[in-house]
Symmetry: C2
Subunit: 324 residues, 2 copies
């Protein structure tokens, strides 16, 4: 069994499930495994290192995968887009920043443009850029994101897309870590889901084992949206975009004290980098979403896809049986 | 048609829809209209004024309604509980604070205890108190609430309740303003929904017409979680609980400047009270959730119920048709 939607038709995939292009986590092996299991894997272009991208596309082998970029970062290294388009990706996803400057080359390469948005205004910009797939991302998502929550954001974006670009479609992201979330997304009018944290805790993800173990042990209440990890890593993110991460010693010390951190940044950056280098997740960031409650193991990505689909089918059957 | 769940069975209602007991908004007329249309209306006990409660129970007439209290405020006026229990309410809902001191008299009166929670820890306390219905409320809700989002919180609480008290059940709240949200809540494993903002903008609500008009015009992006309205009204809420409200001149001036507001509080309280008295929503609070995007009118509550149910049925039928 499967779930057939406009997303599966558009992308030629079996299940309406996209792997979130998590920077330094969603490598070619994970993206390839998601695609092989019937979803679509998106390699995490992150801040953009060409050698890393070349290696990870190679690791995906002959599996059909896509790629995602941080838009404001891509604007500083626009040549990366050409390098990835030359790989003929199944889709190109842009998040966080104005997608309009990049739309033309993507469309000229006949690659599907996916834009991730955090508000209705962002969605309008994405439609202006000609995005065919809009990922409406809620604040419960792990990693970078905005302030609106998935459940009310998705139908609002669905209505907006139906009005402005009825051929485009909406994919839900944020807080979706099991099949109930997938079922709920379809009920909200989405054509599929984009899933991050659940795949972070998979066998094929590039995350440290210590990070995967923390996600498996964590609750959604152990996560927080914060800008301190970006400060410690020297990244200047746009206003209103923060990263949801697991609380640790570093958040206990600095979250809510951003001004003091800015004053101590040189020493803290060095300390942070050293900790990150040795995989010390008491200091280093582990991006994770509120769906962490629903994650109790780190199986193979193919097993995650199978569970998502079978749980969603069961959830939809039960919910539909309530109608009398 | 209707949606039959354990909630409708438990409460003897037709549709699995509860009116949020919004203080000074959910009066007897609105609660009665929701019950008459097949849901269950909960009168908003708010900070607790006995005369107001007596009047609003009278306004509900012979319709079967319940009542909701702010738990930490009820602790200061515990006699109100007896006054309401004497009215033989259909259910008694407690939110924000430790429900355990109040559970015994509610159970002794054979009244259904509903506890609203914002985290899994809160849910455990509510189950310890013997709550039969747990409302898992997401941060996208209007009015007071916590920081976790509805879509991942609901299944996490569903799992916890199934493990600790399988006879109890979960109701979803936060961001639910149309039938797609109701359908999604059922897919997540909830037995029904608790709806606030959608009913604020109804003919029978006690809200000012100017406030209803602002909700109808607003987007979810126009809302913000803040403590400044509580400060201006002299209410000391527990840590971590803020109120989601429409942005206005007062939030533009003070949100994010809580310390400065505390320094100017005497003058600002007087200015605030005067504005609230004349219904000036540029200064006075209009609590509203992110579901505001989905609210385009202020019809009668019975019409809202009919739409919620018919839209949910359609959404579930469409979602279930994706399974092939």
């Amino acid at each position: 069994m499967t779930l057939r939607t406009r997303l599966t038709e558009k992308l030629g995939i079996t299940h309406p499930i996209l792997l979130a292009p998590m920077g330094s986590i969603s490598g070619g092996r994970l993206a390839g495994a998601v695609s092989e299991a019937g979803g679509l894997g998106l390699i995490g272009g992150g801040y953009g290192e060409q050698a890393w991208l070349e290696r990870e596309f190679a690791a995906a082998g002959n599996r059909r995968v896509g790629c995602g970029f941080i838009t404001w970062s891509l604007a500083k290294r626009p040549h990366l887009l050409d390098a990835v388009l030359a790989r003929r990706p199944a889709a190109l996803m842009l998040s966080f920043g104005d997608p309009r400057p990049f739309a033309k080359p993507i469309q000229a390469a006949e690659v599907v443009l996916i834009c991730q948005v955090q508000s209705r205004d962002h969605a309008l910009h994405a439609l202006e850029a000609g995005a065919e797939i809009i990922v409406a991302q809620g604040t419960e998502a792990g990693g970078h994101g905005g302030s609106r929550a998935t459940l009310p954001l998705v139908p609002a974006v669905v209505d907006l897309v139906a009005r402005h670009a009825p051929k485009a479609m909406v994919v839900a992201a944020g807080g979706i870590a099991d099949g109930r979330g997938l079922a709920a997304a379809l009920a909200l009018g989405a054509e599929g889901v984009l899933v991050g944290t659940r795949f972070y805790a998979s066998a094929e993800s590039l995350g440290h084992d210590s990070a995967k173990a923390r996600i498996v042990a964590a609750s959604g209440e152990d996560t927080v949206r914060t800008s301190i990890f970006d400060a410690a890593r020297g990244y200047a993110w746009p206003d209103g975009i923060t990263g949801r991460a697991l609380r640790n010693d570093f958040t206990a010390r600095w979250h809510g004290r951003e001004r003091e951190l800015a004053g101590a940044i040189d020493g803290e950056m060095a300390r942070y980098q050293a900790a990150a280098g040795r995989g010390d997740v008491a200091t280093a960031v582990v991006f994770a979403g509120e769906g962490a409650d629903l994650i109790d193991d780190a199986p193979q990505a193919g097993e995650i896809i199978r569970r998502l689909v079978s749980e969603a089918e069961r959830a939809l059957a039960v919910a539909a049986s309530r109608v009398v």
